[in-house]
Symmetry: C2
Subunit: 194 residues, 2 copies
């Protein structure tokens, strides 16, 4: 998006809905304009094209998402509790905003490599949060000293992400938030019996 | 695919290459025919359409992939060693068949829900292998008794899958197979210091 203005937020919210309901490829700018109750031309004041809308929406919502997780982590004493707060807040946000979940788990898995690169750059804001937890856990001597940060991050994010994708593919048949505690336990202590 | 014949294998192999190099959406049947050195019409003797080719290719290769993992697991005594054999064979196959990796990590992430459903059904053959390891580990009292099989499976598969996707997105800059041992260790005993 080029710059902000009163209608920016309206367009962003309409875009999430239209993309979630129609899929990115069928989400014409005119559909988004209609849902946002603005003229088609207004959209082009803020966004270059449909791809720019997708990326801007993701960047915007990722900012909110990361702030929300940081806030939940803020008052936790231990690194274990911070990780639990992260997973719980992650699941809670996607449960409460199912349109976000459809967009992140299905529509943002674009095959176009350039677009994927842009999505990856925004995803980094979330992965950096995981890195801070891993660093802190190692520094405090709570986490394994020898473990590779990238591998640990890929395990945590991969587990969360696969759990959310399965939940979306299963049409929210079960409660996602209640999976946070058992996943947290498995990530901390692994498959082996304690 | 409807039935087998001498040219079936040729078409399958050509399809993997064409899809990996051009992306599924740009992989016209005529391109696949040319690469397979068959007439366009020959393809339609075996496959209904491009989507049928994608699904058939995935089913065919998944069969080989799963057999290869089962063979590697076969001579392992402990459930821990079986899990290591699975991860190592998984990474080895995708390292040696980079076209497969591009197709599985990028092109099979289709947003079309019906197509995703079909892909999920084939993926089950791989997930069932994980389930047998989890069941065996629980039965032998090596793995946590109380853990949910689906959550454990989503952790193992999610970790492997995210690791492979990052490696593909990073254009194979580093060795994937050497990540098997540290990932195996993390999955078994978690983030916490032993
Ligand atoms: C050129 C080609 C080259 C090919 C090479 C091939 C070889 C290489 C292969 C390696 C790479 C493979 C990567 C493949 C990538 C493509 C697909 C992806 O995107 S993967 C990445 C994205 N991931 C995906 O796309 C996978 C998405 N997942 C799925 O679609 C499904 O899980 C499933 C179809 C896989 C299995 O489903 P199902 O048969 O149903 O079995 P379940 O046990 O899961 O469920 C049993 C019941 O439990 C419920 N339940 C489940 N979990 C939980 C829970 N945690 N808490 C509570 N409940 C839970 C569930 O609702 C169900 O209840 P109900 O419905 O019966 O009432
Ligand atoms: C409507 C919208 C609603 C939106 C709501 C938003 C809020 C909700 C958000 C929650 C859901 C988020 C889901 C987002 C889903 C979209 C994206 C996906 O598909 S996600 C699922 C699919 N996943 C993806 O798409 C993620 C794919 N990953 C990536 O693209 C990148 O990892 C990165 C861009 C994320 C970070 O990259 P980078 O900044 O480079 O940082 P690194 O530390 O990784 O790397 C540092 C160096 O280490 C090398 N290295 C790395 N690992 C290893 C290793 N294990 N061993 C050895 N070496 C390794 C690496 O080569 C690099 O070397 P060099 O290159 O500097 O020489």
């Amino acid at each position: 998006g080029k710059s902000r203005g009163p209608k920016y937020g309206q367009i962003i919210d309409a875009a999430v809905e239209v993309i979630a309901e129609n899929g990115f490829h069928q989400a014409q700018v005119s559909k988004i304009a209609k849902k946002a109750k603005v003229a088609d031309g207004t959209i082009y004041l803020y966004f270059k094209n449909k791809e720019d809308i997708l990326i801007s929406v993701f960047r915007e919502k990722m900012g909110l998402f990361v702030s929300c997780i940081e806030e939940a982590m803020g008052d936790k004493e231990t690194v274990e509790d911070k990780l639990l707060a992260l997973i719980e807040t992650y699941f809670k946000n996607l449960s409460e905003n199912y349109h976000w979940a459809i967009v992140t788990q299905l529509e943002l898995r674009q095959t176009d490599k350039r677009l994927r690169g842009k999505i990856g750059e925004i995803l980094k804001d979330l992965l950096i949060l995981l890195d801070t937890i891993i660093d802190e856990g190692k520094l405090q001597g709570v986490f394994k000293q020898e473990m590779d940060k990238r591998i640990a991050r890929q395990m945590i994010f991969g587990t969360i992400d696969e759990t959310v994708t399965t939940w979306v593919m299963k049409d929210r048949k079960y409660d996602l938030v209640s999976l946070a505690a058992p996943i947290h336990h498995l990530l901390l202590s692994g498959l082996l019996k304690d």
